[in-house]
Subunit: 207 residues, 2 copies
Protein backbone atom coordinates (compact mmCIF):
# COMPACT_ATOMS: atom_id res chain seq x y z
CA UNK A 1 0.00 0.00 0.00
CA UNK A 2 1.15 3.53 -0.69
CA UNK A 3 1.00 5.99 2.18
CA UNK A 4 -0.86 9.26 1.86
CA UNK A 5 2.51 10.95 1.30
CA UNK A 6 3.38 8.52 -1.47
CA UNK A 7 0.10 9.21 -3.18
CA UNK A 8 0.70 12.93 -2.86
CA UNK A 9 4.18 12.47 -4.30
CA UNK A 10 2.77 10.49 -7.20
CA UNK A 11 0.30 13.27 -7.91
CA UNK A 12 2.71 16.12 -7.62
CA UNK A 13 5.29 14.40 -9.75
CA UNK A 14 2.73 14.15 -12.50
CA UNK A 15 2.88 10.36 -12.63
CA UNK A 16 -0.83 10.36 -13.19
CA UNK A 17 -1.24 6.91 -11.72
CA UNK A 18 -1.33 5.13 -8.48
CA UNK A 19 1.02 2.19 -8.79
CA UNK A 20 4.46 2.38 -7.17
CA UNK A 21 6.19 1.87 -10.51
CA UNK A 22 9.87 2.40 -11.23
CA UNK A 23 9.40 6.10 -11.92
CA UNK A 24 7.60 6.64 -8.63
CA UNK A 25 10.18 4.63 -6.69
CA UNK A 26 13.05 6.55 -8.33
CA UNK A 27 11.43 9.84 -7.48
CA UNK A 28 10.80 8.87 -3.87
CA UNK A 29 14.39 7.59 -3.50
CA UNK A 30 15.82 10.76 -5.07
CA UNK A 31 13.86 13.06 -2.77
CA UNK A 32 14.89 11.08 0.29
CA UNK A 33 18.55 11.20 -0.71
CA UNK A 34 18.46 14.90 -1.68
CA UNK A 35 17.01 15.63 1.75
CA UNK A 36 19.43 13.37 3.64
CA UNK A 37 22.69 14.12 1.81
CA UNK A 38 21.97 17.20 -0.28
CA UNK A 39 21.44 17.42 -4.02
CA UNK A 40 25.10 17.63 -5.04
CA UNK A 41 26.29 14.68 -2.97
CA UNK A 42 23.62 12.38 -4.42
CA UNK A 43 24.50 10.43 -7.56
CA UNK A 44 22.20 8.75 -10.05
CA UNK A 45 23.77 5.45 -8.94
CA UNK A 46 22.71 6.16 -5.33
CA UNK A 47 19.16 6.90 -6.46
CA UNK A 48 18.90 3.77 -8.58
CA UNK A 49 20.28 1.61 -5.77
CA UNK A 50 17.83 2.96 -3.19
CA UNK A 51 14.93 2.54 -5.63
CA UNK A 52 16.01 -1.02 -6.44
CA UNK A 53 16.44 -0.29 -10.16
CA UNK A 54 19.39 0.12 -12.50
CA UNK A 55 20.88 3.44 -13.63
CA UNK A 56 19.64 2.55 -17.10
CA UNK A 57 16.09 2.53 -15.78
CA UNK A 58 16.70 5.92 -14.18
CA UNK A 59 17.75 7.37 -17.52
CA UNK A 60 14.69 5.92 -19.23
CA UNK A 61 12.59 8.16 -16.97
CA UNK A 62 14.77 11.25 -16.39
CA UNK A 63 17.48 13.07 -18.33
CA UNK A 64 19.41 13.80 -15.14
CA UNK A 65 18.91 14.05 -11.39
CA UNK A 66 17.82 17.67 -11.68
CA UNK A 67 14.85 16.65 -13.76
CA UNK A 68 13.49 14.61 -10.84
CA UNK A 69 12.74 17.89 -9.09
CA UNK A 70 11.35 19.70 -12.11
CA UNK A 71 9.34 17.10 -14.01
CA UNK A 72 6.20 18.01 -12.05
CA UNK A 73 6.48 21.66 -13.06
CA UNK A 74 4.61 21.13 -16.33
CA UNK A 75 1.60 19.65 -14.53
CA UNK A 76 1.65 22.55 -12.10
CA UNK A 77 1.85 25.05 -14.97
CA UNK A 78 -0.98 23.31 -16.79
CA UNK A 79 -3.26 23.51 -13.77
CA UNK A 80 -2.59 27.26 -13.49
CA UNK A 81 -2.94 28.05 -17.19
CA UNK A 82 -5.98 25.90 -17.75
CA UNK A 83 -7.89 27.68 -14.95
CA UNK A 84 -6.99 31.06 -16.50
CA UNK A 85 -8.28 29.89 -19.88
CA UNK A 86 -11.51 28.50 -18.46
CA UNK A 87 -12.42 31.36 -16.14
CA UNK A 88 -15.86 32.84 -16.95
CA UNK A 89 -15.82 35.07 -20.02
CA UNK A 90 -16.97 37.99 -17.90
CA UNK A 91 -13.90 37.73 -15.62
CA UNK A 92 -11.51 40.71 -15.68
CA UNK A 93 -7.87 39.83 -16.52
CA UNK A 94 -6.71 39.74 -12.89
CA UNK A 95 -9.80 37.72 -11.94
CA UNK A 96 -8.88 35.09 -14.52
CA UNK A 97 -5.37 35.03 -13.07
CA UNK A 98 -6.85 34.74 -9.57
CA UNK A 99 -8.70 31.62 -10.78
CA UNK A 100 -5.35 30.26 -12.01
CA UNK A 101 -3.74 31.04 -8.67
CA UNK A 102 -6.54 29.18 -6.89
CA UNK A 103 -6.07 26.09 -9.06
CA UNK A 104 -2.29 26.20 -8.63
CA UNK A 105 -2.66 26.50 -4.86
CA UNK A 106 -5.10 23.58 -4.74
CA UNK A 107 -2.68 21.50 -6.80
CA UNK A 108 0.21 22.15 -4.42
CA UNK A 109 -1.94 21.57 -1.34
CA UNK A 110 -2.66 18.04 -2.61
CA UNK A 111 1.05 17.43 -2.30
CA UNK A 112 0.94 17.92 1.48
CA UNK A 113 4.54 18.34 2.69
CA UNK A 114 6.12 17.65 -0.72
CA UNK A 115 6.27 21.26 -1.99
CA UNK A 116 8.00 22.24 1.27
CA UNK A 117 10.51 19.41 0.99
CA UNK A 118 11.15 20.23 -2.65
CA UNK A 119 11.71 23.88 -1.80
CA UNK A 120 14.18 23.02 0.96
CA UNK A 121 16.22 20.98 -1.54
CA UNK A 122 16.16 23.82 -4.08
CA UNK A 123 17.00 26.52 -1.52
CA UNK A 124 20.20 24.66 -0.66
CA UNK A 125 21.58 24.79 -4.23
CA UNK A 126 22.20 27.94 -6.33
CA UNK A 127 21.97 26.07 -9.65
CA UNK A 128 18.54 24.72 -8.70
CA UNK A 129 17.44 28.18 -7.57
CA UNK A 130 18.33 29.61 -10.98
CA UNK A 131 16.41 26.81 -12.66
CA UNK A 132 13.41 27.50 -10.44
CA UNK A 133 13.49 31.20 -11.38
CA UNK A 134 13.48 30.19 -15.04
CA UNK A 135 10.47 27.96 -14.46
CA UNK A 136 8.61 30.90 -12.95
CA UNK A 137 9.52 33.01 -15.99
CA UNK A 138 8.17 30.28 -18.24
CA UNK A 139 4.98 30.09 -16.14
CA UNK A 140 4.51 33.83 -16.57
CA UNK A 141 4.89 33.56 -20.35
CA UNK A 142 2.34 30.72 -20.44
CA UNK A 143 -0.16 32.71 -18.35
CA UNK A 144 0.31 35.74 -20.64
CA UNK A 145 -0.43 33.50 -23.65
CA UNK A 146 -3.61 32.28 -21.95
CA UNK A 147 -4.69 35.88 -21.34
CA UNK A 148 -4.04 36.76 -24.97
CA UNK A 149 -6.25 33.83 -25.95
CA UNK A 150 -8.93 35.45 -23.78
CA UNK A 151 -8.63 38.54 -25.98
CA UNK A 152 -6.52 40.67 -23.62
CA UNK A 153 -4.17 43.08 -25.38
CA UNK A 154 -0.54 42.03 -25.43
CA UNK A 155 0.98 44.51 -22.99
CA UNK A 156 -1.85 44.14 -20.44
CA UNK A 157 -1.55 40.35 -20.71
CA UNK A 158 2.17 40.48 -19.90
CA UNK A 159 1.73 42.84 -16.94
CA UNK A 160 -1.19 40.85 -15.48
CA UNK A 161 0.63 37.54 -15.87
CA UNK A 162 3.78 38.90 -14.24
CA UNK A 163 1.78 40.33 -11.35
CA UNK A 164 -0.04 37.01 -10.97
CA UNK A 165 3.18 35.01 -10.82
CA UNK A 166 4.59 37.52 -8.33
CA UNK A 167 1.53 37.07 -6.11
CA UNK A 168 2.03 33.31 -6.36
CA UNK A 169 5.71 33.55 -5.44
CA UNK A 170 5.05 35.78 -2.43
CA UNK A 171 2.13 33.63 -1.22
CA UNK A 172 4.15 30.44 -1.63
CA UNK A 173 7.04 31.88 0.39
CA UNK A 174 4.57 32.92 3.08
CA UNK A 175 3.15 29.41 3.09
CA UNK A 176 6.60 27.86 3.52
CA UNK A 177 7.35 30.01 6.53
CA UNK A 178 3.82 30.22 7.94
CA UNK A 179 3.44 29.16 11.55
CA UNK A 180 -0.32 29.65 11.66
CA UNK A 181 -0.74 26.74 9.21
CA UNK A 182 -3.00 28.65 6.88
CA UNK A 183 -3.74 26.98 3.56
CA UNK A 184 -1.90 28.19 0.48
CA UNK A 185 -5.28 29.13 -1.03
CA UNK A 186 -6.01 31.37 1.96
CA UNK A 187 -2.60 33.02 1.69
CA UNK A 188 -3.09 33.62 -2.05
CA UNK A 189 -6.43 35.32 -1.33
CA UNK A 190 -4.77 37.45 1.36
CA UNK A 191 -1.99 38.53 -1.02
CA UNK A 192 -4.52 39.48 -3.69
CA UNK A 193 -6.40 41.60 -1.16
CA UNK A 194 -3.18 43.26 -0.03
CA UNK A 195 -2.31 43.99 -3.65
CA UNK A 196 -5.61 45.85 -4.06
CA UNK A 197 -4.95 47.85 -0.93
CA UNK A 198 -1.41 48.69 -2.00
CA UNK A 199 -2.37 50.04 -5.38
CA UNK A 200 -5.57 51.63 -4.06
CA UNK A 201 -3.63 53.76 -1.59
CA UNK A 202 -1.36 55.05 -4.38
CA UNK A 203 -4.07 56.01 -6.80
CA UNK A 204 -6.11 57.78 -4.12
CA UNK A 205 -2.93 59.59 -3.06
CA UNK A 206 -2.45 60.83 -6.61
CA UNK A 207 -5.93 62.12 -7.21
CA UNK B 1 37.85 62.73 -26.06
CA UNK B 2 35.19 60.24 -25.03
CA UNK B 3 32.02 60.20 -27.07
CA UNK B 4 28.62 60.62 -25.42
CA UNK B 5 28.20 56.86 -25.65
CA UNK B 6 31.54 56.24 -23.95
CA UNK B 7 30.55 58.56 -21.13
CA UNK B 8 27.24 56.79 -20.80
CA UNK B 9 29.06 53.46 -20.75
CA UNK B 10 31.40 54.73 -18.08
CA UNK B 11 28.45 55.80 -15.98
CA UNK B 12 26.41 52.69 -16.39
CA UNK B 13 29.37 50.47 -15.70
CA UNK B 14 29.80 52.22 -12.39
CA UNK B 15 33.33 53.34 -13.16
CA UNK B 16 32.55 56.57 -11.43
CA UNK B 17 35.08 58.54 -13.45
CA UNK B 18 35.53 60.03 -16.81
CA UNK B 19 38.95 58.96 -18.05
CA UNK B 20 39.21 56.16 -20.61
CA UNK B 21 41.27 54.01 -18.25
CA UNK B 22 42.02 50.32 -18.63
CA UNK B 23 38.77 49.27 -17.00
CA UNK B 24 36.73 51.47 -19.33
CA UNK B 25 38.63 50.29 -22.40
CA UNK B 26 38.20 46.64 -21.38
CA UNK B 27 34.50 47.14 -20.87
CA UNK B 28 34.05 48.87 -24.21
CA UNK B 29 36.06 46.17 -25.99
CA UNK B 30 34.09 43.39 -24.29
CA UNK B 31 30.72 44.88 -25.23
CA UNK B 32 31.81 45.34 -28.84
CA UNK B 33 33.03 41.76 -29.08
CA UNK B 34 29.96 40.30 -27.33
CA UNK B 35 27.79 42.15 -29.84
CA UNK B 36 29.90 41.19 -32.88
CA UNK B 37 30.70 37.54 -32.07
CA UNK B 38 28.40 36.63 -29.21
CA UNK B 39 29.25 36.18 -25.56
CA UNK B 40 30.37 32.55 -25.76
CA UNK B 41 32.71 33.00 -28.72
CA UNK B 42 34.54 35.89 -27.05
CA UNK B 43 37.56 35.06 -24.88
CA UNK B 44 39.25 37.17 -22.25
CA UNK B 45 42.32 37.17 -24.52
CA UNK B 46 40.23 38.71 -27.33
CA UNK B 47 38.94 41.39 -24.98
CA UNK B 48 42.38 42.25 -23.65
CA UNK B 49 43.82 42.41 -27.19
CA UNK B 50 41.11 44.75 -28.45
CA UNK B 51 41.48 46.96 -25.36
CA UNK B 52 45.26 47.07 -25.78
CA UNK B 53 45.91 45.55 -22.35
CA UNK B 54 47.08 42.20 -21.04
CA UNK B 55 44.85 39.41 -19.72
CA UNK B 56 46.43 40.06 -16.35
CA UNK B 57 45.06 43.59 -16.42
CA UNK B 58 41.64 42.20 -17.29
CA UNK B 59 41.69 39.97 -14.24
CA UNK B 60 42.71 42.87 -12.02
CA UNK B 61 39.38 44.50 -12.90
CA UNK B 62 37.00 41.56 -13.44
CA UNK B 63 36.70 38.02 -12.12
CA UNK B 64 35.53 36.74 -15.50
CA UNK B 65 33.98 37.97 -18.74
CA UNK B 66 30.48 37.61 -17.29
CA UNK B 67 31.28 40.19 -14.65
CA UNK B 68 31.81 42.82 -17.36
CA UNK B 69 28.07 42.73 -17.98
CA UNK B 70 27.01 42.66 -14.35
CA UNK B 71 29.41 44.97 -12.54
CA UNK B 72 27.09 47.93 -13.11
CA UNK B 73 24.19 46.15 -11.45
CA UNK B 74 25.18 47.29 -7.95
CA UNK B 75 25.10 50.96 -8.96
CA UNK B 76 21.72 50.42 -10.57
CA UNK B 77 20.43 48.68 -7.43
CA UNK B 78 21.79 51.46 -5.23
CA UNK B 79 20.00 54.15 -7.21
CA UNK B 80 16.70 52.25 -6.85
CA UNK B 81 17.10 51.43 -3.15
CA UNK B 82 18.35 54.85 -2.15
CA UNK B 83 15.29 56.55 -3.69
CA UNK B 84 12.99 54.15 -1.79
CA UNK B 85 14.77 54.98 1.45
CA UNK B 86 14.67 58.71 0.89
CA UNK B 87 11.07 59.04 -0.31
CA UNK B 88 9.01 61.40 1.90
CA UNK B 89 8.00 59.86 5.22
CA UNK B 90 4.34 60.30 4.28
CA UNK B 91 4.71 58.17 1.14
CA UNK B 92 2.72 54.91 1.09
CA UNK B 93 4.82 51.76 0.48
CA UNK B 94 4.06 51.58 -3.23
CA UNK B 95 4.72 55.33 -3.59
CA UNK B 96 8.17 54.84 -2.09
CA UNK B 97 8.75 52.02 -4.57
CA UNK B 98 7.48 54.27 -7.38
CA UNK B 99 10.17 56.80 -6.37
CA UNK B 100 12.72 53.99 -6.63
CA UNK B 101 11.41 53.02 -10.05
CA UNK B 102 11.74 56.62 -11.20
CA UNK B 103 15.35 56.82 -10.05
CA UNK B 104 16.19 53.47 -11.65
CA UNK B 105 14.59 54.56 -14.93
CA UNK B 106 16.52 57.85 -14.91
CA UNK B 107 19.75 55.94 -14.27
CA UNK B 108 19.20 53.64 -17.24
CA UNK B 109 18.14 56.50 -19.51
CA UNK B 110 21.54 58.12 -18.91
CA UNK B 111 23.03 55.05 -20.54
CA UNK B 112 21.35 55.85 -23.86
CA UNK B 113 21.58 52.72 -26.05
CA UNK B 114 23.74 50.75 -23.58
CA UNK B 115 20.93 49.04 -21.65
CA UNK B 116 19.47 47.86 -24.97
CA UNK B 117 22.82 46.54 -26.16
CA UNK B 118 23.43 44.83 -22.85
CA UNK B 119 20.00 43.21 -22.98
CA UNK B 120 20.58 41.92 -26.51
CA UNK B 121 23.79 40.22 -25.34
CA UNK B 122 22.02 38.69 -22.35
CA UNK B 123 18.99 37.56 -24.34
CA UNK B 124 21.27 35.50 -26.60
CA UNK B 125 22.70 33.40 -23.76
CA UNK B 126 20.70 31.21 -21.31
CA UNK B 127 23.39 31.33 -18.60
CA UNK B 128 23.37 35.13 -18.67
CA UNK B 129 19.57 35.15 -18.55
CA UNK B 130 19.63 33.05 -15.38
CA UNK B 131 22.16 35.41 -13.87
CA UNK B 132 19.98 38.38 -14.77
CA UNK B 133 16.97 36.76 -13.10
CA UNK B 134 19.05 36.29 -9.96
CA UNK B 135 20.04 39.96 -10.03
CA UNK B 136 16.38 40.92 -10.15
CA UNK B 137 15.71 38.65 -7.17
CA UNK B 138 18.52 40.34 -5.29
CA UNK B 139 17.12 43.77 -6.23
CA UNK B 140 13.75 42.76 -4.83
CA UNK B 141 15.32 41.63 -1.54
CA UNK B 142 17.20 44.95 -1.28
CA UNK B 143 14.02 46.97 -1.92
CA UNK B 144 12.15 44.92 0.70
CA UNK B 145 14.93 45.71 3.19
CA UNK B 146 14.59 49.41 2.39
CA UNK B 147 10.83 49.23 2.99
CA UNK B 148 11.38 47.48 6.32
CA UNK B 149 13.72 50.31 7.26
CA UNK B 150 10.80 52.65 6.52
CA UNK B 151 8.80 50.75 9.12
CA UNK B 152 6.72 48.62 6.76
CA UNK B 153 5.76 45.21 8.16
CA UNK B 154 7.77 42.31 6.79
CA UNK B 155 5.16 40.60 4.63
CA UNK B 156 3.87 43.87 3.11
CA UNK B 157 7.48 44.90 2.42
CA UNK B 158 8.14 41.69 0.49
CA UNK B 159 4.94 41.90 -1.55
CA UNK B 160 5.44 45.58 -2.39
CA UNK B 161 9.07 45.05 -3.38
CA UNK B 162 8.21 42.09 -5.59
CA UNK B 163 5.42 44.03 -7.26
CA UNK B 164 7.78 46.98 -7.78
CA UNK B 165 10.45 44.83 -9.42
CA UNK B 166 7.78 43.21 -11.58
CA UNK B 167 6.61 46.64 -12.75
CA UNK B 168 10.23 47.49 -13.52
CA UNK B 169 10.74 44.29 -15.50
CA UNK B 170 7.60 44.76 -17.55
CA UNK B 171 8.32 48.46 -18.20
CA UNK B 172 11.90 47.71 -19.19
CA UNK B 173 10.77 45.04 -21.66
CA UNK B 174 8.26 47.50 -23.10
CA UNK B 175 11.03 50.06 -23.44
CA UNK B 176 13.26 47.62 -25.30
CA UNK B 177 10.56 46.83 -27.83
CA UNK B 178 8.91 50.27 -27.93
CA UNK B 179 8.61 51.82 -31.36
CA UNK B 180 7.08 55.07 -30.14
CA UNK B 181 10.38 55.95 -28.41
CA UNK B 182 8.77 56.77 -25.10
CA UNK B 183 11.14 57.28 -22.19
CA UNK B 184 11.55 54.48 -19.68
CA UNK B 185 10.23 56.85 -16.99
CA UNK B 186 7.04 57.38 -18.99
CA UNK B 187 6.59 53.63 -19.47
CA UNK B 188 7.12 53.00 -15.75
CA UNK B 189 4.40 55.56 -14.95
CA UNK B 190 2.08 53.89 -17.48
CA UNK B 191 2.66 50.45 -15.96
CA UNK B 192 1.92 51.77 -12.46
CA UNK B 193 -1.33 53.28 -13.70
CA UNK B 194 -2.28 50.02 -15.41
CA UNK B 195 -1.53 48.15 -12.19
CA UNK B 196 -4.01 50.36 -10.33
CA UNK B 197 -6.65 49.74 -12.98
CA UNK B 198 -6.05 45.99 -12.95
CA UNK B 199 -6.47 45.60 -9.22
CA UNK B 200 -9.24 48.20 -9.05
CA UNK B 201 -11.39 46.21 -11.46
CA UNK B 202 -11.01 43.08 -9.33
CA UNK B 203 -11.89 44.65 -6.02
CA UNK B 204 -14.92 46.41 -7.46
CA UNK B 205 -15.94 43.11 -9.05
CA UNK B 206 -15.79 41.42 -5.68
CA UNK B 207 -17.67 43.95 -3.66
Amino acid sequence: MMSATDIALARISGMGRWAPDARGRLQKAAWELFTERGFEATTVADIAARAGTTERTFFRHFDDKREVLFSGAEVFEDSFVSAVLHAPKSAAPLEAVAAGLGAAAAFLEQGQDMPRRRQAIIAANPELQERELKKLASLSAAVADALRMRGIADSAAVLTAEIGVTVFKVSFERWLSDRDHKTLSALVAESLDELSELTGSVSSGRR
